[in-house]
């Protein structure tokens, strides 16, 4: 029974296979059919000769055909035959493999863009354009705010710079910063100890009047609160409580052309010092260094009055 059914199945299958490939107007199908007919003829001729009975052939067929398929497969695969047909088929399959690999790779590579339709591409392009415009405007905004921030930071830096400068200038005045610039060095040699505090104060006032900006006597910085006292025992003078002995050496930053005549005027500082057997020498310099520092006293009572 099963032997009867199997050939029927095969026939159905063949019948189903024919129309399927038939309407496809495919040369293969037509030739297949022709060749198939030929194969059937050649296949059946020996069978007919063998068994003689059609029924016997039909009963043997289902057993033989699949095994024939296998043997054909093996025969085609194993002893490799080099023929023109094989080479042409190999060439075609080579092209197929190549195209297959290229297609698989490009599909993996370029996501969906590579095989996308035109309208999809247009849509994607539009979206990208929109996105680019949004990003462009965002970039403009960010650049503006960056410029603002840079501006304000520059202003802050400028203000800081000015404040620092101001602080340095005030520090020179207050004696907390070293000062340098053109000026004079006035040296008072007083071998007999005749120079007293009041004479030093006169000298200092004269220098201040002539526009001295920073003054140091020996190693004491002269500031607004500097005071002079005579040493009670022996010679010498105390400046800001520090004992200073001769020769007194004034280092003064200021205009040398103003300072020197101010000291040298008749009846001025130099004259009166010479009257006390002290010798004053003035050296003008393009650059003097006032490097002594005064210790600022914190304000105890006064505070800045609001403007």
């Amino acid at each position: 029974m099963s032997e009867e059914r199997e050939p029927r199945e095969r026939e159905e299958e063949a019948a189903a296979g024919e129309p399927e490939s038939g309407p496809g107007a495919e040369p293969e199908a037509g030739a297949e059919a022709v060749a198939g007919a030929g194969a059937e003829e050649t296949g059946q001729a020996p069978r007919g000769g063998e068994g003689g009975a059609v029924a016997a052939a039909a009963s043997r067929e289902p057993v033989r055909l699949p095994s024939e398929g296998r043997t054909r497969l093996k025969a085609a695969l194993w002893p490799p035959r080099v023929s023109r047909g094989q080479l042409v088929v190999a060439l075609l399959l080579f092209a197929l493999g190549l195209a297959l690999a290229i297609q698989v790779r490009s599909t993996n590579d370029h996501s969906e863009l590579r095989g996308a339709r035109q309208e999809d591409l247009v849509r994607i392009l539009d979206e990208l354009d929109d996105k680019q415009q949004r990003l462009q405007s965002e970039k403009t905004q960010l650049e503006q705010s960056l410029a603002q921030l840079e501006n304000s930071s520059n202003q802050a830096k400028e203000a800081q710079e000015q404040t620092r400068k101001k602080a340095a200038e005030l520090g020179v005045l207050a004696g907390t910063e070293k000062a340098t610039g053109p000026g004079i060095v006035l040296t008072i040699d007083d071998p007999q100890g005749q120079v007293k505090a009041d004479m030093l104060l006169d000298t200092l006032q004269e220098l201040r009047a002539a526009g001295a900006e920073a003054i140091q006597i020996n190693d004491v910085r002269v500031v607004a609160g500097t005071y002079f006292t005579d040493n009670s025992s022996g010679g010498g003078v105390r400046i800001d409580g520090k004992s200073v002995s001769q020769p007194f050496r004034f280092t003064v930053v200021g205009n040398p052309q103003d300072l020197t005549p101010a000291l040298n005027i008749p009846g001025g500082v130099v004259r009166s010092l010479e009257n006390h057997q002290a010798r004053a020498t003035i050296v003008q310099q393009q650059k003097v260094l006032v490097d002594a520092l005064a210790t600022p006293k914190p304000l105890q009572y006064g505070k800045p009055a609001a403007k």
């Binding site: 399927e20 030739a31 296998r70 497969l73 002893p79 197929l96």
Partner: protein, 110 residues
């Protein structure tokens, strides 16, 4: 055997050489590949049936590829490219399945 070797070498070359495909061919390549696959399955089936003829195979292979590409091209010109290529893929897929079924019956007797 040589044919199988050709396929394997083709895949290897495609993977390692990575040739650049001209842009004009790009949309037709996938359909052409599917059509060629259909021809190959048909060829294997014919071989198992014992009626394989290399001339028929070559002609069917080339015409399958050309016709498939032509259909896609036409569809693109008519503005129904995606639908037509889907249709072509469906038809070729059905044919590949039926051929594969025939091959299966030959090889596994089931």
């Amino acid at each position: 055997m040589i044919a199988v070797l050709g396929l394997v070498i083709g895949v290897i070359v495609g993977v390692f050489v990575q040739p650049e495909v001209p842009n004009a061919v790009v949309p037709y390549l996938p359909i052409a590949v599917v059509a060629a696959l259909d021809a190959v399955f048909g060829g294997v089936r014919a071989m198992l049936d014992g009626i394989f003829d290399d001339k028929v195979f070559v002609v069917s292979f080339l015409s399958n590829v050309v016709v498939a590409a032509l259909i896609v091209f036409l569809g693109d010109q008519l503005g129904v490219g995606s639908q037509l290529s889907t249709g072509v893929v469906v038809v070729l897929g059905i044919r590949i399945f039926s051929n594969a079924a025939a091959i299966r019956r030959h090889v596994f007797r089931a």
